[in-house]
């Protein structure tokens, strides 16, 4: 009698276990992408790729360093086949852990050498420029800073915003660290802690600048353009200012794509990178509403963008950008 009850309960438990097993197994058969790029952009890429190749894709969304650290922890047992980042530092971190497979030579040839590391373990898929977005009706409009470093000056107290928790801003700091060294970066971050107002997300910074809550913000260029292309409700009072002059604030960040060495779908994973960096993938950047720069050889960016060559960005060896140190310094400065 007891056995009967026990069997029923056991059967129920087994059923539960079987259910969960099938639920989790059904997801393991296609290409899995760990995606830190904007969801909408990657969704467009994946849609086009699946249409052209028939390969199905599962996406896990997250942030650059979150997914990068996750890959380090998962090691060779990771379910991920492809890793896409918004910025290069997290990609370099995964590369240095020896987790990336070499990118196909044919794919490498599709991208200008400035947008891929010499190690050829990952490749640029898009690029974005640092900008100062400011409110046209505020005093800042007539007295713009000459350099990103000027924002540490006390006259800027309470007047500028950023999204310090985001990977975008952390990439900008990694450029600063590479260009100016650890001591100068920490000093700047500490001044930033006093001077700046923290928002969550670059879109939130843009919105705050537009509504006049704050005078200026350090973000990437495309947030403004995307909003202009939609309703403009978060950007009508805002304008973009490019620092230029090889200033740390003129940093152009590379979004990267890499194939995990442990991937069991190497061919499909490599063909995804090839598709994204090739004409169809880069056309999504030019014609869609992403407004990021193309990196493909012979490809043209969206005509609404300021020419990449006019931005006078600092020359930086992308492999040297160090995200771990940046998080440490930002934690030390009390920003995280």
């Amino acid at each position: 009698m007891i056995c009967k009850v026990r069997i029923r309960v056991l059967a129920l438990l087994l059923l539960c276990a079987a259910l969960t097993a099938t639920m989790s197994q059904s997801q393991a058969q296609e290409l899995t992408i760990y995606n830190a790029q904007h969801r909408s952009l990657t969704a467009e890429w994946v849609e086009g790729f699946t249409r052209d190749t028939g390969v199905k894709v599962t996406i896990r969304n997250g942030d650059d360093t979150e997914l990068g650290n996750q890959l380090l922890q998962e090691g060779s047992a990771t379910p991920a086949d492809v890793f896409l980042t918004e910025n290069s530092p997290a990609m370099s971190m995964v590369e240095q852990a020896g987790l990336l497979a070499p990118v196909d030579p044919a794919t490498l040839e599709q991208v200008a050498p400035a947008y891929r590391p010499s190690t050829a373990r990952w490749i640029g898929i898009a690029a974005r420029s640092t900008v100062l977005v400011y409110n046209k009706t505020k005093p800042v409009a007539s007295a713009l800073p000459h350099s990103l470093l000027d924002l540490a000056d006390p006259v800027w107290k309470g007047r500028w915003a950023a999204s310090p928790t985001g990977a975008d801003f952390q990439a900008i700091v990694s450029a600063l660290l590479e260009l100016k060294g650890e001591a100068a970066t920490l000093a700047w971050l500490k001044a930033m802690k006093t001077n700046s107002v923290a928002y969550r997300g670059n879109g939130a910074v843009l919105k705050a600048v537009n509504s006049g809550q704050i005078e200026a913000g350090v973000i990437y260029h495309y947030y403004y353009l995307r909003d202009q292309a939609k309703t403009g409700e978060n950007s009508t009072n805002a304008a973009l200012y490019y620092f230029k002059g090889q200033d740390p604030g003129a940093f152009v960040s590379i979004s990267g794509g890499g194939v995990l060495a442990s991937s069991k779908h190497q061919a499909d994973a490599q063909s995804f990178l090839k598709w994204v960096t090739g004409h169809p993938g880069q056309a999504v950047l030019r014609n869609g509403d992403a407004y990021e720069y193309v990196v493909g050889e012979g490809e043209a960016s969206n005509p609404k963008l300021t020419l990449l060559t006019d931005l006078d960005a600092p020359e930086i060896n992308v492999s040297k950008l160090n995200s771990k140190k940046v998080v440490e310094l930002m934690t030390q400065a009390g920003l995280l």
């Binding site: 007891i2 026990r6 639920m23 997250g62 942030d63 979150e66 650290n69 969550r200 939130a204």
Partner: protein, 536 residues
Amino acid sequence: MLDGGGQPLERAVASAAVLRSQVAPGWRNKRFTISWVGAAALFVSLIALVPLGFVASATLETGWIDAAALVWRPRVGELLINTALLTIIATPLCVVLGVGLAVLTERTDLPGHRFWSITAAAPLAIPAFVHSYAWVSVAPSLHGLFAGVLISVLAYFPFLYLPVAASLRGLDPALEDVAASLGLAPSRIFFRVVLPQLRLAIWGGGLLLALHLLSEYGLYAMVRFDTFTTAIFDQFQSTFNGPAANTLAGTLALLCLALVLFEARTRGGGRYARLGSGSPREPRRQRLGRWGRAAAILPLFIIALLAVGVPLITLMRWLAIGGARVWNTDEITSALGQTLSFGTTGAVLATLAAAPIAWLAIRRPTRFARALEGINYVTSALPGIVVALALVTITIRFARPLYQTVTTVLVAYMMMFLPRALVSLRAGVAQAPVELEQVARSLGRSPAQAVWSISLRLAAPGAAAGAAMVFLGIANELTATLLLAPNGTETLATSFWALSGELDYAAAAPYATIMVVLSLPLTWLLYHQSRRLVGR
């Protein structure tokens, strides 16, 4: 609990030993049932201990020096001040609001008091982060402590209102009559006789509220108010499960445990049940008079407008702006399906897991049973982010096959929401007379059969109510789901969060609306139950 820790364990081991030993068949059956239930309860409670173990071991692993350096820094001080101010300001405000509204709806001749009491419970049907989303849409510059307190109070005051209103209905007015006959003025009667009798409801509701304040993420992230939970999430986004995230999680866990202990120490051991025979009279409703009614309706109207009106009107507005474009049916259907499947499986699992503990707590109320019950309450007091960080770290290191699976998500839900199932199930088991089981035994049923055919059936309504509460919790859960969900899995809450994070408020509106619609019947059930508990 620590000093009692050894004994229950030994007892469990001893009962497991009896299981294997050869004794007389009759005895064997009885012992077997007890130890089987005990073992199941022990197993569930051991799982519940995992997050606590993680917090302790993460601190040890980081090393005292490094952990101390990560904890004793100005940023943690800021977070501590923010979190403490939020709890200290919002909790009393909710108490005042909850008690005030309960008195108005239960003890006065307010016109439409039934309607107003439903309105006072309604904010629970709206997830806290949807409240926040609505307020940020209405007043984009709203931020910081003020915004955090305002929205927390509006979203969470029903936690106080519901138990206080239920207690008020259950009070015997005879005590108040005695006080009046001894010459006490009505206002003094309230403070000296009525209010002290509401102590358990206020303390219990206050604890639940404070724990929610400590573990809420979405609400505060949207209004740029940094608490421990938002800071842990920020660290997680930068470092996955780095030492800074883990030590912050440890500190937060300690804060939660301190709250639980504080509540247990200060709630007192007074007797609140009535003495004497017969049944109590219905409490008299205070006449308000014409001006009194106007003065009472106005605050009720304002609260309803702020706590229900603002979120619903904002949702309607975004739906209208978005039009047909935002009803991307494929994505919405898949998120809805995922939420429903997580919710129902999680609810069934939590109820099954709670069953042995509930049964022990009523039928064999030993120290062992109390300890097991306590462990589960303590774990559920831990914020979702701590539970999720623990499970990510443990599965990635020691249980790889479970990593990124539905099973892990469901285990997290079980840890977080098991007490919801336990409380209802316990009440259900308590209502099933043990004598009926004994009669069944005397008619030749085995102990297990007697439990199965008598107590479990009589406890079924309680179990269903508990399962519904678990479902509600899972459907609106954000942080643990964000961290643990398998690749490619999106629920209503995570989709809503991703879209509102990209400031696409119109596209986020359908997800929020569906969450509210899903929650409405369950909130109704909760409201109904809180009235039924006192038999009115």
